[in-house]
């Protein structure tokens, strides 16, 4: 029953967000510092999910190509501040994988005067068939004079050629006068399923990311193959504006949190243990939030007891507790480290670990957790 939810002070936006993404096998959105280093991590995350999907595995290489192309378009053509840095807090790069389709979305700040030229180029590319696109690509390659930044048109032509679908786009004018270019490239194996309505969804996503100061959000499988690239992305990218000491603390906490979800989350319809992770920067700290389903037969009271035990403990007490349990684990007949990871998280945290166990009307239960590092 909803009334069973304990406690209620946890940032609860994660649970409805997670539920709303029920049909999405993989969702990744990024609003943090942008650099080329992000490319490898993005490809690893996508490949891990897509290669495991029977319907989609054949398009794996194309998806990787499109991800790189879309991402680099943001880097190349995004509106820069006077000091040359990309206005990355306004740019959002995201992708979603469903069972039989894959969508890549970008929201990119542009100069208002670029609007007509860009719209005209996308429309022109969308009207062309494969042969025309090929000819046009060669022609543009020779002229190479489409964009003062080099190759804007070429990127769009490549996106249309590789995806085999029209490029979806839209413009959104911010009250500040900034122009946002929404762009969607996709693969669909099953045309019966309605196309994902991108502008509304990505506008809402961007709004939520900004509102909660989220730099990265990931929903999907939490097996080792997915969480290692996430760790790299956070080390090399999200942490770029943080001290290396803070980034390392985040890394230590994430390992325990994500592997815990990978071991204990409810198993989804596709047989994976899935969950969601959001990382934000709030009031001088990085905040890590996670949510995952609780298996029907699992009793979360042991977890609740362990977390409650860590409440209001100072660092020295936590250190002592960890040391005692760590020593005792050697004599435990079960080769496990149960509970030690949580104490380590509490030790690294600035303040409490907040958590909630939420029960939906239909009986589904979700565990969400929030920790400041």
């Amino acid at each position: 029953m909803p009334g069973d939810n304990v406690p209620s002070n946890v940032p609860s936006m994660m649970v409805p967000f997670f539920i709303a993404l029920r049909d999405v096998r993989l969702m990744f959105a990024y609003r943090g510092p942008l650099s080329d280093h992000l490319t490898d991590g993005i490809i690893s995350i996508s490949e891990h999910t897509v290669s495991g999907q029977e319907e989609m595995s054949r398009v794996n290489r194309k998806v990787s190509f499109l991800l790189v192309e879309c991402f680099q378009n943001i880097l190349k053509h995004g509106e820069k501040s006077p000091d040359g840095n990309l206005l990355s807090e306004n740019a959002v790069f995201s992708f979603r994988a469903f069972d039989d389709s894959f969508y890549i979305n970008s929201i990119n700040p542009l100069k208002p005067e670029d609007r007509d030229r860009l719209a005209e180029m996308v429309e022109r590319v969308n009207r062309m068939d494969r042969a025309e696109l090929k000819t046009f690509y060669k022609q543009q390659l020779e002229e190479n004079a489409i964009s003062s930044k080099g190759g804007a048109g070429l990127g769009l032509i490549e996106l249309a050629r590789k995806s085999g679908q029209p490029i979806r786009y839209d413009f959104e004018e911010e009250p500040s006068g900034m122009l946002l270019f929404h762009n969607q490239v996709y693969f669909r194996k099953n045309s019966q399923r309605p196309e994902f309505s991108f502008t509304e969804a990505t506008k809402k996503l961007r709004f939520e990311l900004i509102r909660h100061r989220i730099l990265l959000i990931y929903k999907g499988d939490f097996s080792q193959g997915a969480i290692l690239p996430l760790l790299d992305i956070i080390e090399l990218n999200v942490g770029r504006n943080s001290s290396s000491s803070e980034t390392r603390r985040v890394g230590h906490v994430l390992i325990e949190l994500l592997q815990n979800i990978g071991s204990h989350a409810a198993i989804s319809a596709d047989g994976t243990r899935e969950g969601m992770l959001a990382i934000s920067r709030e009031a001088g700290a990085m905040v890590i939030r996670t949510v995952n389903g609780i298996s029907e037969d699992a009793d979360p009271s042991a977890l609740k007891k362990r977390l409650d035990e860590l409440k209001n403990k100072d660092t020295q007490t936590l250190k002592r507790l960890h040391r005692e349990r760590f020593k005792a684990s050697l004599n435990s007949p079960v080769r496990s480290s149960s509970g030690l990871g949580l104490i380590q998280i509490a030790k690294a945290a600035k303040g409490q670990i907040d958590y909630s166990i939420h029960t939906e009307q239909n009986g589904e239960r979700f565990f969400s957790l929030s920790v400041r590092v």
Partner: protein, 119 residues
């Protein structure tokens, strides 16, 4: 003994002529027991074969709590050895949590620890 590093397991190398065991990299395996079982077997053989001395050098970027449990078992096994053993615990200059983890190991076994910062 030599185990090549992987994306989630560390390099483990024993060089007999230098009396040195090096464990270096990331230790994040889901099944830490499978990874550390041969290392623990090696430690028992080391003691049984009566080698003279050993320096264990840890330079770990990250390790998960289940790896921590087996690293403690490794040290706890080796501390029973009559041979002279020491640990060199290396960490990145900005990684105070890794230093803390080393200090905790040091407090739980009777092997002397030397703490170093990677240059």
């Amino acid at each position: 003994m030599h185990l090549e590093p992987t994306i989630d397991t560390p390099e483990v190398t024993y060089t007999r002529d230098q009396h040195r065991l090096i464990i270096r990299g990331r230790s994040l395996p889901e099944d830490a027991w499978s990874f550390y079982e041969p290392v623990l077997d090696w430690a028992k053989d080391f003691i049984a074969n009566g080698h003279q001395e050993l320096t264990i050098e840890f330079f770990l970027e990250y390790f998960n709590s289940s790896s921590g449990r087996y690293l403690l078992e490794l040290l706890s096994t080796l501390e029973k050895s009559p041979q002279q053993i020491q640990v060199v615990w290396v960490s990145e200059p900005d990684d105070e949590l890794m230093v803390e983890k080393g200090e905790e190991f040091s407090g739980l076994v009777s092997i002397p620890f030397v703490f170093r910062t990677a240059s």
